[in-house]
């Protein structure tokens, strides 16, 4: 039982980190970024190349991966999302195509076989009889630190209030002196950064593969739909619900059903409370 609780907590922290960048973009920019998983793909492969292939120290490798994720987010906004602004279907299709193109690029550069990403923090610790890898523990601590930092930024700083303002009323934000375009740009960069960091931890928890962007995208969509778009606290809580459901189904029911209960939960929420358990459709 303790193993389930601890693994559930750790996995949920990672899921919250994965979902956060996605919820930011949907809340502020009103864009369903179907290429969000590609940030994780890029983060994982950049870290692999820099730290594992070229031997650059791991923290610097993580920093480089985050920077590349940020740059991809900014470029995607500037050259794909902004020109198509207002046409949601076009943006969604384009972002999905971009993810597929990036996957093909990764296959071209690295081949289509899986690669093992060595743990960022190697080793195992016993906690109350449960085995916990330092790597997942580090991912959880990083995840919580980032989420707390993000919460403080959104609720207590000028840029955070501006992000909330843009998510609630674009015109209201503009006449307050906030440039919605710059806030969107900032949010896309931040989302790319968070996605790339999540990708490094996710790949070290699972493995590197050109199709590794799909599973995190589904997790992100699930957390956001169930939690409700725009709620950082909601994202955190629902990441834990989904993380624990997965761990429990693997440990006590059948590993093959790992994601099934999450899907059932999504459908139930869409039918009963379409705005999600905590959502108001604006960033909070």
């Amino acid at each position: 039982m303790m193993q389930i609780v601890i693994q559930g907590l750790l996995l949920s922290g990672l899921y919250a980190l994965i979902a956060m960048g996605f919820t930011l973009i949907f809340s502020v920019g009103r864009v369903l970024n179907l290429a969000y998983g590609a940030y994780l793909l890029i983060g994982g492969y950049v870290y692999f190349t820099v730290s594992q292939t070229f031997g650059v120290p791991k923290p610097i490798g993580l920093l480089i991966a985050a920077t590349v994720g940020c740059a991809v987010g900014l470029l995607k906004y500037r050259f794909l999302v902004k020109p198509l602004k207002g046409d949601h279907v076009a943006v969604e299709i384009s972002t999905l195509i971009l993810a597929v193109v990036l996957q093909a690029g990764v296959v071209f550069l690295y081949g289509d076989s899986s690669k093992i990403l060595l743990p960022i923090v190697p080793g195992v610790i016993q906690v109350a009889g449960a085995s916990v890898t330092y790597n997942l523990l580090a991912a959880t601590i990083a995840s919580w630190a980032i989420l707390i930092g993000l919460y403080i930024i959104v609720r207590k700083t000028h840029i955070g209030r501006a992000m909330q303002a843009v998510s609630m009323d674009n015109k209201g934000a503009a006449i307050s002196g906030v440039d919605p375009d710059k806030i969107n740009m900032f949010t896309w960069g931040l989302s790319g950064t968070l996605g790339a960091i999540a990708g490094v931890f996710f790949a070290s928890y699972t493995q590197l593969h050109p199709a590794m962007w799909v599973a995190p995208l589904i997790i992100a969509v699930a957390v956001v739909i169930v939690g409700g778009i725009g709620s950082i606290i909601g994202t955190l809580i629902v990441a834990h619900i989904i993380g624990f459901m997965e761990i429990i189904s693997v440990a006590l029911i059948a590993p093959e059903l790992r994601g099934v209960f999450t899907m059932i939960l999504i459908i139930a929420v869409l039918l009963i409370r379409p705005q999600g358990l905590f959502g108001r459709e604006e960033l909070q």
């Binding site: 000028h158 909330q164 009323d169 209201g172 503009a174 006449i175 307050s176 002196g177």
Partner: protein, 234 residues
């Protein structure tokens, strides 16, 4: 020199033209009113000054063109705007709504907050309340307060009394007058309620279907029988 001057302004929403060859001027420290019926183009005129429509013609502030500036840059140059629909941030507190208004004038947050709270004491009492739970009058106060937080020298106020009880309209009128007299703000209001406009403004422009049909002081416009019947009551 006029503080704000519009010269032959045309405004468009897509292919539809909403303003036709509009020219007007506002002197420093003056309150002027633009009166007209629903759909006359009053909100479009203010949106155009804020850079939110496609325009041709000139919009000059203190003699300098602001046509090419973004809305955020126009705010930064000293124009505050309280729109008809308020455009507040419904799930943020009153205080946070005001603080968003301070985005480009962070050095004067405390002094501007003090001014807003002095003009609208209710906003201090209810600073932690979400604006989605407030009455129309209170939201109008937040909207005006947020505009004041931008440290404006020119304040644009779109239909400040629409949907409000007479008592609240009186409070808004007093606040606008104080903004002009005590803060030295130049103010442009739009109104369907011409009688309210006359209590505040030194000059009025009458807008019909995007065209300025008349302009002058209250007394001058009262002398026009057709306008008196249409806008100022018998």
């Amino acid at each position: 020199m006029a503080f704000l001057e519009l010269k032959s302004l045309n405004a468009f929403y897509g292919k539809a033209q909403a303003l036709h060859d509009v020219s007007l001027h506002v002197k420093p420290g003056e309150i002027i009113a633009i009166v007209g019926a629903n759909g006359a183009g009053k909100s479009t005129l203010l949106d155009s000054v804020m850079g939110m429509t496609t325009t041709t013609g000139d919009i000059l502030m203190e003699g300098k063109s602001i046509n090419q500036l973004s809305t955020a840059e126009i705010v930064q140059s000293g124009v505050g705007y309280a729109p008809e629909r308020f455009n507040l941030f419904p799930y943020m507190s009153v205080r946070d709504n005001l603080l968003v208004g301070a985005y480009t004038s962070r050095e004067s947050i405390e002094s501007n907050l003090a001014i807003v709270h002095k003009l609208f004491p209710k906003l201090k009492e209810r600073q932690h309340q979400e604006t989605s739970t407030q009455s129309g009058g209170e939201r109008q106060m937040v909207s005006l307060g947020r505009a004041l937080m931008t440290s404006p020298r020119l304040l644009l106020v779109d239909e400040p009394t629409i949907g409000l009880a007479p008592k609240v309209c009186g409070e808004i009128a007093v606040a606008l007058k104080r903004m002009c007299d005590e803060l030295g703000a130049t103010i442009v209001i739009t109104e369907q309620n011409a009688n309210f406009a006359m209590t505040l403004a030194s000059r009025l422009y009458v807008l019909e279907s995007g065209v300025v049909k008349a302009e002058g002081t209250v007394d001058e416009l009262r002398g026009d029988a057709r306008l008196t019947e249409a806008y100022f009551g018998a």
